[in-house]
């Protein structure tokens, strides 16, 4: 069996030391002064284990999903597997070269031409010159930059730039490939192409570690997944069971723990009715945004409704309706989600505050359940619901039908899915 292994991780751990004096910028002078004052005392440190006691195996040709929320240890695991940083304990055995699609465009230099960047970036990612030579046309073709090969990439549109960057990374031919979530880049067409390429990679017999917190793409691409939580593996098994465990952990998690940043504005006072509510009833989410420190730029908020598979089915971004909030005073926000109708099941709500970037975010700010009754006049046949993501509001008419079948007619044509 062991000859089929591609990755073996045993008791892996990574500790970061946190200094206690809270110096953001430790200078040489400060260190020297401290040493001079207390020559015998070692500076007080505490170890923070970003990852501990992690063991798993991946067979050759397997596509393993790694899921977990922000801060669960996913990126630390990737950094260790790619040798960017060293482990504090445990060991990793790798049978094959490791390529990573962690950061698209790492090492791209704006002053260099497209051609120069392909070679530089390829080398940085671990390709030999021969490999790059061989793949050159495919890379250029994939990125669609034939006419701009000798133009410095600083003159590229941002779309061209990411396309080229992704194209180089996507043509890595290592036996083991680490793929991080935020890979689908560029416009919609290109995103499709990226996802297609990732899918190709996943099915062509290479060993892939696919990291994401988009459960939807994990369930599509992987058979097996491990769930990281708090630096350890809390579940490992078939991908659907792992996804289930992930969602369960998201529900049970204390909402505030999922906070991403501690910026000048904080989401507070969240009120999300856990239901059950009916599919077609408007859903109300209330929360407030409180200024913590001086901030003068109007900001926007967003709520994501996430279904059990981890797919964001509604991104209610206030920018879409032209709502910008004044940061000077605390704001009470109420979001009413009228459409789409939701399938029966459990949903998670993530909240975000944006200005020029994410200022505050809470994954799993609340959960609610949609009850089993359907807003249709016909029978709720499971088979007829199986493929939909949301409940479409639709209307049929035919030249001669035995019975007129219609859903409520007041919102025709919204959210129709095939």
């Amino acid at each position: 069996m062991s000859s089929d292994l591609a990755i073996r991780v045993e008791g892996l751990g990574k500790a970061y030391s946190i200094r206690h004096q809270h110096n953001d910028h430790v200078t040489l002078a400060q260190v020297a002064l401290e040493k001079a004052r207390h020559p015998l005392r070692r500076s007080e440190r505490e170890d923070f284990w970003a990852l501990r006691d992690v063991s798993f195996e991946v067979n050759r040709g397997e596509v393993l999903g790694v899921i977990g929320r922000n801060g669960a240890g996913k990126s630390t695991l990737l950094k260790l597997l790619t040798r960017i940083t060293g482990p504090s304990e445990g060991r990793i055995d790798l049978w094959g070269r490791v390529g990573s699609l962690l950061e698209v465009g790492t090492g791209f230099h704006p002053e260099l031409t497209g051609r120069e960047n392909i070679y530089l970036n390829g080398s940085i990612l671990g390709m030999s010159r021969k490999e790059i030579d061989r793949q050159f046309d495919a890379i250029v073709d994939f990125a669609g930059v034939e006419n701009f090969l000798d133009t410095p990439v600083k003159r590229y549109s941002s779309g061209m730039y990411v396309r080229l960057a992704f194209a180089v990374a996507a043509h890595l031919e290592t036996e083991i490939l680490l793929v991080d979530e935020v890979l689908a880049v560029g416009d919609q067409d290109f995103q499709k192409k990226c996802l297609g390429k990732m899918h190709d990679v996943a099915v062509d017999g290479r060993t892939v570690l696919f990291v994401s917190h988009q459960i939807a793409s994990i369930t599509q691409l992987c058979d097996r997944a491990i769930l990281l939580d708090n630096g350890g593996i809390s579940f490992g098994g078939p991908v659907l069971a792992s996804a289930e465990a992930y969602n369960a952990s998201m529900r049970s998690a204390p909402a505030m723990a999922e906070r991403r940043t501690t910026g000048p504005l904080r989401i507070d006072d969240i009120d999300i009715d856990p239901g059950p509510v009916s599919a077609e009833a408007p859903k109300k989410f209330r929360f407030s945004v409180v200024p913590i420190s001086d901030f003068h730029v109007p900001y926007s908020v967003s709520a994501h409704v996430v279904d059990q598979r981890g797919m964001v089915i509604a991104q209610c971004d206030s920018r879409l309706v032209g709502l910008w909030l004044d940061p000077a005073t605390p704001q009470d926000v109420t979001l009413t989600l009228r459409q789409p109708w939701l399938l029966p099941g459990e949903y998670r709500v993530d909240l975000f505050v944006y200005s020029s970037g994410v200022i505050d975010s809470i994954q799993g700010a609340g959960h609610f359940t949609v009850g089993p009754s359907l807003p249709y006049s016909g029978a709720g046949i499971d088979e007829a619901l199986a493929l939909s993501t949301v409940l479409p509001d639709f209307l049929y008419s035919a030249s001669s039908s035995a019975v007129e079948l219609a859903s409520t007619p007041q919102h025709p044509g919204i959210g129709a899915s095939e």
Binding site: S2, S3, P87, E89, H109, L112, L120, I124
Partner: protein, 284 residues
Amino acid sequence: MSDTGTTSAAPPPLVTIKPRRSWLPASPLELWTFRELTLRFAARDITLRYRQTALGTIWVILVPLLGAGILTFVFGGVADLPSPPGIPYFVFTLAGMVAWTTFSQVTNRSSSSLVGNAGLVRKVYFPRLLLPISTVLSTLVDAAVSLALLILLLLISGIRPGLGVITFPVWFMLVVFLALGIGLIAGALMVRYRDITYILPVAIQFLLFASPVAYTLASVPADAKWLFQLNPLTALLEGMRWSLIGTERPSAWLATYATMFAVVLLAAGVMVFSRMERQFADVI
């Protein structure tokens, strides 16, 4: 960083990653497997250095000429120090500049190569030693140009170096060793303490005047001579100049001292660097 070791599994793993705290570089062989990347880094640095300049590669020639010109003016003109008999002051300083620019450029560039490539260090793996080493390669280009200029001047002015010229590569190598040794230690420290960014240029500036770049050891007051001789650059500069234009040769014990100094410093640099390497991505 990685040891290709054997385990109980039938085919040994290609790479084993384990905790490591060692003063020795993990795998010197790995540097060789990454040689292509080293060359690419060097090529990138050279390309970028001149790409957005109006005069482009002419700067490669102008910089050493201007440098030697200024030193000639200050030391030969204003301070009115004598150059060795039969050698124009400009030729004398240019010979010193070949060694000095190599030293200062390797020190500067290798020490800032990690911080300058922080994005890469944070996100991609390669033996970190590649970065400082690649700066040596890109500096070789500048050194070659200065050297070519000097040779041209020697031909014009009819100065013939003696047999000592065959020792030039050795002096050159020692200068690079010394510079790289300092660069490795400073570079590794700079990752954590950005103070080095400010200290180093001042130290190098000081060294420029404290080393016989534009004057000979002979013009140093006798009672301060020992102080100058403590500086390993003194023997290396005098040695390289002797090999190029046949000035006075440094004494054997001084040359030995400088050689040992350079080799030990390089070894120390590699050790400090290897010891700290694993944390670079975490703290940079």
